[in-house]
């Protein structure tokens, strides 16, 4: 039978198709504890109240469940006997929520409507309090670790993917040119192994695009590679499998970082995107240190080598460091870059300060301003300036 699960700040309710309660589990009457439950559920944890409720439902043959949360839906589906789907059409839920005060008073949980209001108000306050303390505690250090992990993973993945390709190339050299994506390549090796297994249906179920399926299977049949027996391939397949796991870890890390950056540095992220923002914080050492930097330092952050070189040899100082990776900069013609870099750095510096000191979000405005200034620069300096003396070189002889 079907049931809809509704999570509220007072507890979890299971409703039948008519919207009446079949089971319920209240959270603690301590607002702090109820707030904890809310937070755990939002993270997709199956809290004790939920698992008790599920047991009751199981006993009564409710096996098809609907819930408003994607993560919880997939977690519940993993439990034997349940099929749980995410549910967005919320009219049943909404009606139920609107009557929650009356309902819970009737159930004897609260003495009257005011009692209900007082409790839910305290829970909401506790949720917000928890959110500001947990979010402000040195989260930038986590972002720094995450971006470094991401870089490590990318290096490792390149190394392993290259190894997988080279090794498997002994057996099926033609595949190298046919599959560009490292992840897909590793998956084929891990799932299919011997090139004899590259049949149309198998390739299709690996999600290879139609046009390629035929080509790959033909090449597999006529491959010039050495034949291999299963023991030859075992270790290689295991390497491929682990490489795929690392790809998954990489993607999860990136997702984590994106979420985190939006929270801890929304303004910086609006301008640079999550990854580059994390990288620039990583180079500065912390968000606070980034915020303290003058924008001229920020502009060349990440170009320390070039900066030292210029100090030592008198070559031209760098105009931009890591911010060069910003789309607007590296697509700009050379003579505009210094000017654009200056605009970018000055707004980044404002963004970093607001983020560090917890001010409001003005990211959209900053982006708008930057775009406008870039347009002006493009209009004002449409072509390369007349050749100037490259003073840097000649001065170099002095040192």
């Amino acid at each position: 039978m079907k049931s809809t699960l509704v999570i509220t700040t007072v507890g979890i309710f299971a409703l039948n198709s008519k919207g009446s309660i079949i089971e319920r589990k209240f959270f603690s009457k301590d607002p702090k504890k109820a707030a904890d439950r809310y937070r755990q559920l939002r993270k997709g944890e199956i809290v004790p109240e939920l698992s008790q409720l599920l047991k009751e439902l199981q006993k009564n043959n409710y096996d098809e469940l609907l819930i408003e949360d994607r993560i919880l839906a997939s977690k519940i589906s993993k439990i034997k006997d349940f099929n749980c789907k995410e549910f967005n059409e919320s009219s049943v839920i909404q009606k139920f929520r609107e009557k929650l005060d009356v309902t819970t008073v009737k159930l004897g949980r609260f003495s009257d409507r005011q009692d209900f209001q007082d409790f839910t108000s305290k829970v909401t306050l506790a949720i917000a309090e928890e959110a500001i303390t947990s979010e402000t505690q040195k989260k930038d250090l986590h972002a720094i670790q995450a971006i470094r992990t991401l870089d490590d993973l990318d290096k490792t993945l390149n190394l392993f993917s290259g190894r997988v390709r080279e090794w498997y190339g002994l057996h099926f050299p033609e595949l190298e040119k046919l599959v560009d994506k490292h992840e897909t390549y590793a998956r084929l090796v891990s799932d299919l192994g011997d090139r004899e297994n590259y049949k149309i249906d198998k390739l299709e179920s690996e999600g290879i695009p139609e046009q390629k399926v035929k080509l790959i299977s033909e090449k597999a049949e006529n491959s010039i590679g050495y034949s291999a027996n299963s023991s030859d391939l075992e270790t290689l397949q295991s390497l491929s499998k682990n490489t795929i796991q690392l790809f998954k870890l990489r993607n999860a890390t990136e997702e984590f970082l994106e979420e985190l950056m939006k929270k801890i540095a929304p303004n910086l992220t609006a301008i640079l995107g999550p990854l580059m923002s994390a990288r620039i914080i990583s180079i500065a050492g912390s968000l606070e240190r980034l915020a303290m930097m003058p924008s001229s330092t920020l502009q060349v952050l990440g170009a320390e080598k070039a900066l030292f070189r210029s100090l030592k040899t008198g070559s031209r100082p760098p105009k931009h460091g890591i911010i060069f990776q910003h789309q607007a900069l590296h697509t700009a013609p050379k003579w505009q870059r210094g000017k654009i870099a200056r605009v970018l750095a000055s707004k980044l510096s404002i963004a970093a300060r607001i983020d560090s000191f917890g001010g409001e979000f003005i990211g959209d405005q900053l982006v708008e301003y930057i775009e406008k200034r870039i347009l002006e620069i493009q209009k004002k300096y449409p072509s390369a300036p007349k050749v100037k003396k490259r003073y840097g070189r000649s001065r170099g002889s002095r040192t």
Binding site: T124, I132, E135, G359, F361, Q365
Partner: protein, 230 residues
């Protein structure tokens, strides 16, 4: 003793006019007597304490001063307040809504939220702080009930859409709303009236009727306030 005279506002219950030393000022009845939220003046009259409501500090007060005709915020009602900041205006909205009302105060800056909690929510149980991004209304669906009105002051370029997305989820059928819109854009070449028109157009396309547009000069040069409903 200074002479103090207090009248309720002609059309807005729970909004007061306090006259001292020949000056008439807006005020609300202090829900937490003895505490001032952001340094505003407290005035006693017949055993009731009022908080002076400064139109230079709060755009809603400015709009009332400039002759707003309709105040969607009423005693005992539920209000969704987007862009609560540290609670200057929220605190007066809380006074007006009273103990039986509920103000859902959404703000995504942590610093502002901290102030909001400390200065406003700790002693006003009718204000519920929600740390969330108002661009994603679903984020707080477990915390907010259907509301009688929405007050939106997020100071974002996409504010019309942000408001409408929230209204779709939380505003009751015949609900009313107030939005603060920027009259001066970063783009100085655009005239204020053009900017209003653009915003109003977006709102109308989302199915709203704008009933008034109030410029806030001289209290605030950058913004205007509009009231609307479905």
């Amino acid at each position: 003793m200074v002479e103090v005279e207090v009248h309720e506002h002609d059309i807005f219950p729970n909004v007061f006019l306090v006259k001292t030393r020949g000056q008439e000022k807006l005020a609300t009845r202090n829900m937490v007597p003895g505490t001032s939220v952001y340094g505003e003046e407290l005035v006693q009259h017949n055993d009731i304490e009022y908080r002076i409501w400064d139109p230079y500090r709060s755009k809603l007060a400015a709009a009332i001063k400039k002759g707003l005709h309709e105040l969607p915020i009423k005693q005992g009602e539920r209000i969704l307040y987007l862009g609560a900041a540290s609670g200057t205006t929220v605190s007066h909205v809380s006074d007006i809504a009273g103990n039986t009302g509920e103000v859902y105060a959404v703000e995504f800056s942590q610093r502002s939220m901290r102030d909001l909690i400390e200065k406003v929510c700790r002693n006003r149980s009718n204000v519920r702080p929600i740390l969330a991004d108002a661009r994603v209304p679903a984020e707080y669906r477990l915390l907010v009930r259907i509301v009688d009105s929405v007050y939106s002051d997020v100071a974002q370029p996409n504010q019309a859409n942000l408001f409408s997305d929230n209204a779709d989820v939380y505003l009751k059928e015949k609900g009313r709303a107030i939005i603060v819109i920027k009259s001066r854009s970063i783009d100085v070449t655009q005239r204020p009236t053009d900017i209003f028109k653009k915003e109003i157009k977006i709102l109308e396309n989302c199915g709203f009727h704008v009933s008034e547009v109030i410029r806030l000069e001289p209290f605030d040069k950058d913004h205007a306030m509009i009231t609307l409903g479905r």
